[in-house]
Symmetry: D2
Subunit: 213 residues, 4 copies
Amino acid sequence: MKILVTGFDPFGGAHINPATEAIKLLPQQINGAEIITIQIPTVFRKSIDVLFRAIKKESPDMVICIGQAGGRYDITVERVAINVDDARIEDNEGNLPIDSPIFEDGAPAYFSDLPIKAMVQAMQAANIPASISNTAGTFVCNHLMYAALHYASQYQPDMKVGFIHIPYLVEQVVGKANTPSMNIQDIVRGLTVAIHAAIENKRDIKVQGGAIC
Amino acid sequence: MKILVTGFDPFGGAHINPATEAIKLLPQQINGAEIITIQIPTVFRKSIDVLFRAIKKESPDMVICIGQAGGRYDITVERVAINVDDARIEDNEGNLPIDSPIFEDGAPAYFSDLPIKAMVQAMQAANIPASISNTAGTFVCNHLMYAALHYASQYQPDMKVGFIHIPYLVEQVVGKANTPSMNIQDIVRGLTVAIHAAIENKRDIKVQGGAIC
Amino acid sequence: MKILVTGFDPFGGAHINPATEAIKLLPQQINGAEIITIQIPTVFRKSIDVLFRAIKKESPDMVICIGQAGGRYDITVERVAINVDDARIEDNEGNLPIDSPIFEDGAPAYFSDLPIKAMVQAMQAANIPASISNTAGTFVCNHLMYAALHYASQYQPDMKVGFIHIPYLVEQVVGKANTPSMNIQDIVRGLTVAIHAAIENKRDIKVQGGAIC
Amino acid sequence: MKILVTGFDPFGGAHINPATEAIKLLPQQINGAEIITIQIPTVFRKSIDVLFRAIKKESPDMVICIGQAGGRYDITVERVAINVDDARIEDNEGNLPIDSPIFEDGAPAYFSDLPIKAMVQAMQAANIPASISNTAGTFVCNHLMYAALHYASQYQPDMKVGFIHIPYLVEQVVGKANTPSMNIQDIVRGLTVAIHAAIENKRDIKVQGGAIC
């Protein structure tokens, strides 16, 4: 089994992106599966090009994209990607799409086909704070997750696709008041057990995990 | 023009629901349109039945559902509803659906066809804190929003549909540490200008409004 | 009975200060007491000069200073003022004192001699979110509260002194993500019942009100 | 040089206290000083008895007490302790003091005589989020800090005293929504460099560090 794990490069003026830092530290094998990692530019469209090229080259069984969600307290496994780009800040090449569909012919949304609750439970069992998220935003993270799921639905329905958001690293919040963070070792440990659980793919886990509102 | 505005009854052990309180105070006419209000039970399926019956009876040109989002700081206009029920607490009749589609034949998601950014801007211009939200959760709020959009897509494509989440009322957070709230008069004023903007339907507003992550 | 209520002018680049706005709207009489209001410059030392001059002119029985605590969720009655100025931003005349005592001969701290818990309870009973605070910071708010208590201890031991912090106004947080606020009417109502309770001075109220840590 | 470092036992129904966990992992020597650690019961009065007995036995040059501040985002060095016990929950032996002085003959407050800003800067320079706090609360943490400073002022003016609050551990917030935490290794590293800086005692550091309000 082969798993492609992607991480974005720094954006929005930051010098590091925890996603890039984390994928560097992932083991080469998890639960018997080969882990291939690539860095993705935080750029609309170009991110998709880089991902699709890697998918074509590697033919992975599973794609898990990792991104930074500054301000979140825990590791969040995304449930769904929606067919819209709507940027509040420019990406790394100055693009600022507003209310544009990602693929004109795409579904309004795609649900991740990873066992997202089993992944959250595995992280929690390993003492890593984790939860389900119902929005990957409308910036390049959602863009890439949507594109990967769209690709799978069109060309490779057996390829499983998911997205995991990780908090700021501890060193990123020094001097910032009231901003949550997570240690890189905890993030890597969380991602590792989440990927492990994704490989086992226990589909039957049906636990309360929704958001109230 | 006729607008049906719905508000949920209290749930989760609360004695009041700001949505119910707010719709009672809406004016009977906004921007020339007639405002019809109904209370909706916070119950999966039954909420949909009550809504669909009201739509059939009233034949509104627009449906705007209002719900409480405890913990949010401002009034949020929802962008999208997704085809999943996933409850963390029981609804008012003890239902606890987990990872179930709302309509087996429904689209994965429906985007609101209200001018959500114009509505946010109108509230901000009226000095009411407001923003776009990219998730209505997976409880009865998303359930009802999804159902209304599904209904419109199937039977009444000219009927506009949207959802607005409002914070806790001031009196709901007395004694609760660090919990944001909003005054009922500010909520009603916000909803009124948002509905006013929805009626004007300035579709051309294209401003940065996305979430970064 | 005569009560002097002070409010700071805007600082830190803001155009309004909720304290100034709130004291303008206070009734002229509360619970039989005459309410005198003055605006205080957000300037180290000068704020004290203005306050002391007003105290000498008015000979109030009670002094209650009001200040903005941006980021707080509720109205907080301060328990204590400490003998230190330590500014993170410049005041309105460019002063930036660091780790300096306010009065060289002053006590390390003075406790407010208002019935702070009765004031909090009165606000909560009136459906206004309120709590005790154990720190008035180290900027001009604490500076003024300390000075007023120091003055009373030196020259006028019968004069009661206290400080109330109020959140941002609703209009101040438009466009700011995740920032709590309060409606000016609720603030004025809260201050009014708090002052009413201070006048009654029910000293016997002994309820759990501490902070855990 | 000898430094006594104290950590509280678990309280409020928790199974662990990060303070106890952290002091176990401190090195036996820091910057040439001997580090003695003791656990302190989270009990009013008894905590003081245990501390005073240890001070008499060890005759330390410096006392640094460590406590948990659940809900804080970073490591905070306390500036001041105030002469009041005011509990919101019972301590570990059911005591619930309300608005009581800690020592009838004590000063209203004592300022820590550690170089608190140098300690914060040392932690930040080591990539550990840290800041000054102006309140240690009114529970057993403030109680112990106050008592240690009172003891020093009465009997041992050369003994330096301070208090450091640490956040929840990562494992303590699993399943708790929106609660900040810190990895035990980061906490230990932070405490170690803070103690290192306290020993160097660079008193001349005068930087902006105050709270705005």
